[in-house]
Amino acid sequence: MLNVQIIDTGKSRSFPNLAEFNLSSDAKADILLIIGQEVHQAFKAVSNQNAYQLILLELGEECLGIHTGESLGNEGSHVLGFARYKMGDDPATKLIELVKQPKSKDQSLETAKSFFESLELVVAVCADTPGRIVDRLIRPYLNSVLRRLDDGLATAEDMDKTLKLGLGYPEGPLAMLQRSGLEHHAQVTESLYQALGNPGFFPARRALVAKKMKSN
């Protein structure tokens, strides 16, 4: 069993309630876990980074490179990023997107996977890219659904019914957006649009309206 030292800088999206995982912080640890909103400052303040077998940094929408620096594709070490997937107002899911860099150590990846899996979380490894796996895939799709709703392709109910029945989805995309907060989708996809420049990420009109309404 690996020992973990935790630096909690507050308001973690991945671990809003550490107690649920029965994680206790150990000063003589193999893994350093830094979570919360102030990860960058906390990471920079760690003077003995090489004393750890693995350092895990909780990411928001940013890339891991923001914290570690980059070096023309040669970046990567025992420092990995991660984020537990959460859709808007929904509770965090069991998915951990584990972020590696080109030269990340295989041993670090294996250790990180074992650690998260010991917490009964599901790990998917991805490169250090905006949106990681899930947001990068679903945000253009959700924008497209919202745009086609405006175009009158079908009613919201029929679009959701078609995608649920046709693909075995547990919930239609429009119902999911409505429930989890359309304004959150606007914020995430706007950020991805800025990072990637792909028009598919440009927020759909209905998402922008929801965001504006929320801020009023």
Partner: protein, 291 residues
């Protein structure tokens, strides 16, 4: 009560086989036509496997298995479809080939026979235009795997009569399926969203962002989907995905509908998907989904 008694299915690929199972299982005399006799043999075997698995899982009675198999026939002669009340086309996505097929069917089928296309991207009005009976033509897009999925996207063409559409709609309900009426627009609802979504998943693999198993794991865990995009693509087949992309992009010019280069390379390498034993994943057998 359905006006349809005998169903013809053209094409014994993944979709044609699934549709034939649905029709035979629902009590309709069903004849599958294909020029490839090996494919027809395969369909007969896979249908039997599927029904046997259904019995083993308690979803079908033994006597229903036998009755369903008795109702399902195959033929490499188009003339055997002449007395069908509806003929559902499930061949590859090529407008000219579909026109050729329907014009031949039009010459041999009785006047009241309804024609339906399982196309997922091509306009129903365009296909119907080359059928010789565009008033008796409907879009019936089943979903993969058809033998398990309930949804059918039903689209009238511009000249489809209300009576024909109503008959096809009732037939769909009698099949035990759930019809949704869609506009005759490229990709209808499902593929309009699914093709770009799947292409973007392929591009993630292509650019090394994530491995296929990680993409599927992420999507299934985060969103509760039963199947990840890579597994679904293996089921669809790379050759079919390329045809879908080409048809869709020609109609919409949307960049996300363009076929990713990796799909072309996989086709060249024979990594067609589950049916070839290898796609994004490897498979020990090419059994039909659910069999």
């Amino acid at each position: 009560m359905s006006l349809i008694k005998k169903v013809g299915v053209v094409g014994s690929g993944t979709m044609g086989s699934g549709i034939a199972i649905v029709a035979a299982r629902a009590g309709f005399e069903t004849c599958v036509y294909d020029t490839n006799s090996k494919n027809l043999e395969n369909l007969s075997k896979q249908s039997k496997d599927f029904f046997e698995k259904s019995v083993a899982r308690g979803k079908m009675k033994q006597e229903d298995l036998e009755a369903s198999l008795n109702r399902l026939s195959t033929s490499s002669s188009m003339a055997d479809l002449a007395d069908c009340d509806i003929v559902i086309e499930a061949i590859f996505e090529d407008l000219q080939v579909k026109h050729d097929l329907f014009s031949k069917l039009n010459a041999i089928c009785k006047p009241q026979t309804l024609f339906a296309s399982n196309t997922s991207t091509i306009s129903i009005t365009e296909i119907a235009g080359g059928s010789g009976r565009d008033d008796r033509f409907v879009g019936m897009h089943f979903c993969l795997p058809a033998q398990l999925m309930k949804l059918v996207e039903m689209s009238p063409g511009l000249n489809t009569s209300a009576e024909s559409f109503s008959t096809a709609w009732q037939f769909c309900i009698d099949l035990g399926q759930s019809p949704v009426k869609t506009q005759d627009t490229p990709g209808f609802i499902l593929n309009y969203f699914l093709i770009p979504f799947n292409n973007n998943a392929i591009r993630m693999v292509e650019s090394g962002i994530a491995a296929p198993e990680d993409i599927d794991k992420a999507i299934k865990t985060a969103l509760g989907y039963a199947m990840g995009p890579m597994q679904l693509l293996d089921l669809v087949g790379m050759d079919t995905q390329r045809l879908l992309c080409n048809a869709m992009q020609n109609l919409t010019n949307e960049p996300d509908a363009a076929c990713p280069p990796l799909v072309r390379r996989m086709i060249s390498a024979g990594h067609l998907g589950k049916k070839a034993g290898r796609g994004f994943f490897t498979y020990k057998d090419s059994k039909m989904f659910g069999a």
